[in-house]
Subunit: 305 residues, 2 copies
């Protein structure tokens, strides 16, 4: 690692720490504990929401806004909504009928703590709350209603059967089967990629991106979204249990279709690097304020968890 | 049944038939079959969406708009979105981890046909699609973006942990336990009532209701929403299997907390009638165009399925 890479990573750590604190505080305010008869489901929702997520998606949303001159405050409700959608998808994925995972980020999964019925409903509650949150104008009312509607539509498409849900369906259907490159690409670009793209592009829209800026940031999002998932596949093969907070090698045991399974480990790393390089190239015309996005792209290759 | 009641019911049948056809056609257009790799989930979503629902909620939304001078066309996306949310809630409720029902409206439940994982994801897909749909302006762009946002927020609150999801949670937690009137009222006003209220009031808002009109129609929605669920409880005791399309007496067998269980059958019928009477009283200041809402209120007591 050379001096500049080191500075990059230190900068990014500081940036992540600062934005994560902002997101965590806002999430707590958007979903406070309840004293209703139904308080139990709020407890379950909060359990997974505060179970140690890195907040990658909300930070991408903020960084997307900042890259075009917007600011963190006016995108916070949408950034937090995206984190709720991500969290709901993890809760439902971990359920016995899908992945049957006992651990997530080193902690017992939602259904292990609250039971399957409550976990199902906590996921439903988080997804619904996310859309409620996106109808909130920012505290200073700088986001126009028409822009909010556009963002809600974009995120719903990314999260639904044309995006995340569709990817999950194909992932399940492909388990234990021989898969080709088009299938694994469909799964990754839909199951995780779509919401990552939507994180960056909704931030950009809310930040006031011009048409060509939005196009570039969407393309950046597609590349790093896929790269992120390829990195996840690689880590599932190479990482340690402690670093991942879940079982290493679980993809292979479950017969999951992954990049290493289809392309091999070395070719997967090459694909990942090419995606990150292209993402960085796309940001060339952006000023310094897009630096967090550049650093996030570089971090994908270096991350260990 | 006297002559006027007979005319009422014939009118309502015609009104329902006409609006149901409108809703069914629109739903088909909003969720067409897919030829993507993930087409299977769209098939599962469509299975439950077209499994013979009465379309009560979308028709209430349309009737709410018409009561204040609005029209069906401009509320169709929202009306259909509400039906998708209702359908998702049925699919998830029927899953083995919650009610474990094999039949719904006389047909095999979603998970019986497509498996539990697919049913879970079909529900997720419908909920997400519903919010996508609500961002669509009506074809003639008469609904202002700010009004759409308000309606999305209202429906999300009604469907989420403060509404339907919260009611479901308390329903599950109360199963097999001694329940009092405040608990059964919480369950019914949240689990089914909230979305029925939101159906009427979102229609009213989209139709251009004045403040006092919206207040009256919301109050009407609350009364018939609760009356509808009390009627459901009564039918579960008194109805026939053929009429209900599901097992009669299943509530009692599952130890569900219901109005007949808490108040007895006769008192439940009195409560139901008082709610319908009050709903009709609330509509007194409305013109003839609120007649469908009046007839729907009367129908609740008479319905057999």
């Amino acid at each position: 690692m050379n001096y500049y890479e080191l500075v990059d990573i230190m900068d990014l750590k500081l940036y992540f720490k600062e934005k994560k604190a902002l997101v965590d505080e806002a999430l707590g305010g958007f979903l406070p504990e309840s004293d209703e008869l139904s308080a139990g489901v709020v407890k379950a929702m909060r359990y997974s929401l505060f179970a140690g997520g890195k907040r990658l998606r909300p930070i991408l949303c903020i960084a997307g806004a900042e890259a075009v001159g917007g600011d963190a405050q006016s995108v916070l409700p949408v950034a937090c909504a995206i984190e709720m959608i991500h969290t709901y998808s993890l809760i439902h994925d971990d359920l016995p009928v899908i992945d049957n995972d006992d651990l997530r980020r080193g902690k017992p999964t939602n259904h292990k703590v609250f039971g399957e019925a409550m976990a199902l409903l906590a996921g439903d509650g988080l997804l619904t709350k996310a859309f409620h949150l996106m109808t909130h104008p920012d505290p200073e009312n700088r986001v126009k209603p028409g822009v909010s509607l556009k963002v809600i539509g974009l995120i719903a498409t990314a999260a639904g059967y044309e995006g995340m849900v569709g990817g999950q369906v194909v992932d399940i259907q492909s388990e234990g089967k021989e898969g080709d490159s088009s299938i694994v690409e469909f799964i990754h670009t839909h199951k995780t990629g779509a919401l990552i793209v939507a994180s960056v592009s909704s931030g950009a829209i809310l930040g006031g991106a011009e048409k060509d800026q939005l196009k570039a940031l969407t393309s950046y999002g597609k590349d790093i979204g896929l790269a992120f998932q390829v990195a996840d596949d690689i880590l599932n093969v190479e990482g340690s249990r402690q670093e991942m907070g879940k079982s290493v090698g679980s993809d292979a045991r479950q017969g999951k279709i992954t990049y290493p399974a289809v392309f091999g480990l070395e070719r997967s790393k090459e694909i990942q690097k090419a995606l990150v390089d292209r993402a960085l190239e796309t940001l060339k015309s952006f000023e310094e304020r897009a630096d967090p996005l550049r650093q996030i792209a570089r971090y994908i290759i270096k991350r260990k968890t």
